[in-house]
């Protein structure tokens, strides 16, 4: 039993060490954009433009759900204008960034993990090394920078879709008017919430693409290994996003 716990702990320490080495290597490349910029733009398009539809759908549905639930909870106690405030506050501070991150983790994180994992098990990473190329420069940094860039507009779009869908739901399902929704939204809107949402975007973008790249580069065991890698990438990213969100929440409270 103790032996097993010790082995697990050792594995965790090893992962932390390897991730730290990859993080340092990534940071060392970042000040040299000429080496990765064009590849990063390709990745930003792949992550951002290709994931836009899904982010709009999920953002819109979460705004609609938030409006309905807020309306049902408040209907007999408080003014309905609070629905607008609930949707705006909820979308900007939590649902917009977190749900977008989870969507991108499922779509892009799994994709990066599987892509790099396949490259690893088919010797393409080793081939890159023997050809004198650095996998961090060629594969990791473009994905990380692309993810950081793409997450900002994605979260803006998710917030907008959620607030818009919340309004549509409020005026069509709940006993309230557009004026009440807007009044509530304006009363409870803080610019700090918007800024906080935009601060989370690059942090989540980095987390998703970095973890997916790290897990992908450590894949082993053929096709089954690649499948396990994609799953591990998504699970690790979602856990990391939730942990970071919990850590960031008191920071927002202190700032706002």
């Amino acid at each position: 039993m103790l032996e097993r716990i010790g082995a697990k702990a050792l594995t965790c320490v090893q992962h932390a060490g390897h991730a730290g080495i990859l993080f340092t290597a990534t940071m060392c490349v970042l000040p040299h954009p000429r080496r990765y910029w064009s590849a990063a733009m390709v990745q930003a398009k792949r992550i951002g433009v290709d994931g836009l539809g899904l982010v709009i759908v999920v953002g819109g549905l979460s705004g609609a759900l938030l409006a309905q639930q807020t309306g049902y909870q408040l209907s007999s106690m408080l003014p309905m204008s609070l629905v607008g405030g609930g949707v705006v506050g909820g979308m900007l501070t939590e649902l917009g960034p977190v749900l977008t991150a989870i969507v991108v983790a499922g779509r892009t994180g799994a994709g990066i993990g599987a892509e790099l994992g396949t490259m690893k098990v088919t010797d393409q990473i080793d081939a890159l090394v023997t050809l004198g190329r650095d996998p961090v420069v060629e594969l990791v940094v473009p994905r990380v920078v692309g993810g950081v860039i793409a997450m900002v507009p994605l979260i803006i779009v998710a917030n907008f879709a959620g607030i818009l869908a919340g309004w549509l739901t409020a005026v069509s399902v709940l006993p309230m008017t557009t004026a009440e929704y807007v009044e509530g939204a304006r009363s409870y809107y803080h610019s700090a919430a918007l800024i906080f949402s935009m601060v989370k975007a690059p942090i989540f973008g980095f987390t998703i693409t970095f973890i997916a790249s790290y897990v992908g580069l450590r894949a082993e065991g053929g096709a089954a290994g690649v499948g396990r890698t994609a799953t591990a990438a998504v699970v690790s990213i979602i856990v990391a996003i939730m942990v970071m969100d919990v850590i960031l929440a008191p920071v927002y409270k202190a700032v706002s």
């Binding site: 088919t122 010797d123 393409q124 080793d126 081939a127 050809l131």
Partner: protein, 249 residues
Amino acid sequence: MIEIRSLKKSLGGKPVLDGIDLDVLEGESLVIMGPSGTGKSVLLKHIVGLFDPDEGDLLVDGMSVPRADGHTIREIRSRISYVFQNSALFDSLTVEGNILLGLPEGHCRRPDMDCDKLVLQALEHVNLEPDVLRLLPAELSGGMTKRVALARAVVGHQKYILYDEPTTGLDPLNASKINELIAHLKNELGSTSVIVTHDVDSAFNLADRIAVLSDGRIRALGTPEELRSSPDPGVQRFLDPTSALAGSV
């Protein structure tokens, strides 16, 4: 010249290479043979610095691979091409993109370099037509994939070419064509070749010298003729498994 000195490596606690001493001479074709799982590919990966040995040293043109700093390892790798067992072409790049990767980074940005010409020459070396340049690896047959991998290995005119099981997964006709190509490339380009294989016919056709690896050690080393007349029953059993089977029956 490649010098391997008392090289030891364990993987997963199991010794794979157990004190290898071997020289690869300039311009020769050295074939490394041995049963599966005896560390042939692991040895090859040490030469290019993909593995670090537990003990011993490995020198390429006098430069130690395990002790090389970033600049030196880049210099060593710029002298070596590696043909992987499964070709390891990049799925997202066309044939042209894959072959261009065989040239040093930034080479094609130099105004005096005609990279299109170099790519076409490499294709000619491996008997492929220019119309494959726009294809993706997924659109190629097994034999063509190997040829593109060979083209990538020769486009930069590196001094050493390492082949890891170059005919694995090919039918006998394609395997024989790839062997002919390897021999042709050696004669035409004058490169030093290290070829890992367990195909005995390929080995005797391609080798100037053959090293037989067994239990992590060099069991025999010599010209094909010397190995054929080796008194070592282990070597004979490996070189002619059918006679060994007949003997056991």
